[in-house]
């Protein structure tokens, strides 16, 4: 490859990625060479500005036609743009939380590492959302995974943090190996790693012998990716890792990492397995296996919501709640209605705001205490009425009460499941039932905040970054709940129902 071909690529498509990669390299060097007493929080603001710049650069690319460079390994279609926007917004909010994070034993030496590892993780997620090739998908997945392994163990002297990182590495590597094994069969059958070429190859397959192998590949890839979604059967790491990891990292895992998981799931499943004919060749494999995905979605919702009932630790509780939310999104994925992309995107947008807002308050309240017992929320209304009310907004939204973003998100998924034929009545009713179950533990937190006497009456000091996150998230949660058409109009005008996903 000579310089001319290298320059002929339309590199501007990768603008947001370039900004993130350059910022993370600069941050790594700065963290290495700056004197010890330099306040590493400044590096966090640098990272925050870089993410904002990437958002601006992505918004500049919104009007672009579908483009792909580097032999179609990197494609910028509307799916990539829409989900990259979510990833970037989520990461910007998480960075604000990380800047204010101050654990009991301090973080002085390692604070700088937070920021560039967040950026590299984000970079991996962004690469995943716009890659059109199994190899780049895999590399993006691993970039995200390896960064988050280190992030989970960043409190080096803290036993829980060590242990959670170790569990995360072991679970993550096993799931990666399983996914890869499935991918290797896919490669073997098609002889290519390019998603478009693969789906073209698979359309012509008629030999039923290959269908079994493809079925095996499907199961392995789905099981492996369930790790990133924290859905059944690979959910068991989530509570442990969420509890042990530093709070901003938990927020990162529950939002950015989960979105990235759904991105790669949709990329692989929709572009490959929806083009494999099975049976008499009229229905694609993905639809044939809907019952399987639906079953896992149901088990995920039931398990997440029921086990959350008996949690006393707020971070474990939110881990199970995030498992349940993965289940809700999987319902949309199972139904495969024509609004699937829109409803998943909207649910994740709502989830970014409500979950990160809740984590901002959790971080504020628990970081000074040694434990994360739910009892620390007791009497929050006395200590700080505004915090208690905003936390109530986030919790109501997570529970899906009308007037909040979470309700609209759930409603869309619910309608999507009923709109297709045959309708998924069972799945929709399980979703309603488990939502009702979730009220018990969500409202348990509310009881603590509003009706229990406070153990201490000290006023809470709000750092600027956390304050900003709470305000942005609360406003967005209510705004999207009252005027959801804002987001849907944005989707309509810019992404045109993701028509160019396959093309």
């Amino acid at each position: 490859m000579d310089l001319e071909t290298l320059l002929s690529y339309e590199w501007s498509l990768m603008g947001p990625e370039f900004i993130i990669v350059i910022a993370s390299v600069i941050l790594t060097l700065l963290d290495l060479f700056l004197p010890k007493k330099f306040n590493r929080r400044m590096l966090g603001w640098f990272a925050f500005v870089a993410v904002l710049a990437a958002i601006v650069s992505l918004l500049g690319l919104l009007d672009n036609q579908v483009g792909s460079i580097l032999h179609d390994t990197f494609r910028l279609d509307s799916f990539a743009k829409a989900f990259k926007l979510l990833l970037l917004v989520g990461s910007a909010l998480v960075l604000l939380l990380a800047i204010d994070y101050e654990p009991k034993e301090g973080l002085t030496e390692y604070r700088g590492e937070f920021f560039y590892l967040f950026l590299t993780g984000l970079l991996g997620a962004m690469i995943m959302s716009s890659s059109g090739d199994l190899i780049t998908l895999f590399v993006g997945l691993e970039l995200l995974s390896i960064s988050s392994y280190i992030l989970a163990g960043l409190r080096k002297k803290n036993l829980k943090s060590n242990e959670s990182a170790m569990k995360y590495v072991i679970n993550g590597s096993i799931s990666t190996a399983i996914t890869l094994f499935g991918m290797s069969y896919l490669y073997g059958i098609t002889g290519s790693t390019n998603l478009n070429e693969m789906s073209g190859m698979l359309r012509t397959l008629t030999d039923p012998q290959y269908t079994y192998l493809l079925g095996l590949a499907f199961f392995m890839i789905f099981v492996g990716l369930a790790f990133k979604l924290a859905s059944v059967p690979f959910h068991m790491w989530a509570p442990d890792v969420y509890e042990g990891a530093p709070t901003p990292v938990t927020a990162f895992l529950s939002v950015v990492s989960k979105i990235a998981g759904f991105v790669i799931l949709i990329r692989i499943m929709v572009s490959i397995f929806s083009s494999i004919p099975v049976g008499d060749g009229t229905i694609p494999m993905l639809f044939d296996l809907q019952d399987f995905i639906g079953f896992l979605a149901a088990v995920t919702m039931i398990l997440g919501n029921v086990v959350a009932l008996r949690q006393r630790n707020i971070k474990r509780l939110f881990a199970y709640s995030s498992i349940a939310h993965a289940g809700y999104i999987l319902v949309a994925f199972t139904a495969m209605s024509y609004v699937m992309f829109d409803s998943i995107w909207f649910y994740m947008l709502a989830y970014v705001f409500m979950n990160l807002g809740a984590f901002a308050i959790i971080q504020l309240i628990t970081e000074k205490e040694g434990s994360e017992d739910i009892g620390h929320f007791a009497g929050l209304y006395r200590r700080s009425p505004i915090l208690a009310v905003t936390m109530a907004v986030f919790i109501l939204s997570l529970a899906g009460i009308p007037g909040t973003a979470g309700f609209i998100g759930k409603l869309n998924i619910f309608l999507g499941a009923l709109m297709v034929s045959p309708s998924h009545y069972v799945l929709a009713s399980i979703m309603i039932a488990t939502t009702v179950v979730s009220y018990f533990y969500y409202f348990g937190i509310m009881t603590q905040m509003f009706f229990r006497p406070a153990a201490e009456e000290t006023k809470l000091k709000l750092p600027a970054g956390t304050n900003a996150v709470i305000i942005i998230c609360a406003v967005a949660t209510i705004l999207l709940g009252v005027m959801p058409q804002l987001a849907f109009d944005f989707l309509q005008t810019n992404f045109n129902q993701f028509m160019d996903f396959m093309g």
Partner: protein, 104 residues
């Protein structure tokens, strides 16, 4: 390469993968668990190389993929060992059963 059928390579990879999975799920020593994970990843590599050489549509892509898998697996295990070291400094153990601070 002539005499050995493709299915033999694939069976070898499958057996290696299963041994790795079994080891990763049952062994008590974290180092052994990490080695078992390497076995699983190497089973993937055997698959990829076999398909790239003897598959239905032989192409170099599979070997490129295998190189990426090797590189990434090395990075993953390096991070795993580093985390295990910091855990060992605090706990003086590499036994998985002792990692029980976090539970319901």
């Amino acid at each position: 390469m002539s005499g050995v059928p493709v299915s033999a390579y694939l069976a070898l990879a499958l057996i290696l993968f299963c041994i790795g999975l079994y080891g990763a799920l049952t062994k008590k020593n974290t180092i052994i668990v990490l080695i078992s994970i390497e076995l699983m990843l190497n089973a993937v590599n055997i698959n990829l190389i076999t398909f790239s050489k003897l598959g239905m549509a032989p192409a170099i892509t599979g070997q490129i993929f295998a190189i990426f898998v090797i590189a990434v697996a090395a990075a993953e295990v390096a991070v795993g060992i580093a985390i295990l070291l910091s855990l060992y400094r605090n706990r003086k153990t590499v036994n998985i059963d002792d990692m029980n601070q976090l539970k319901n």
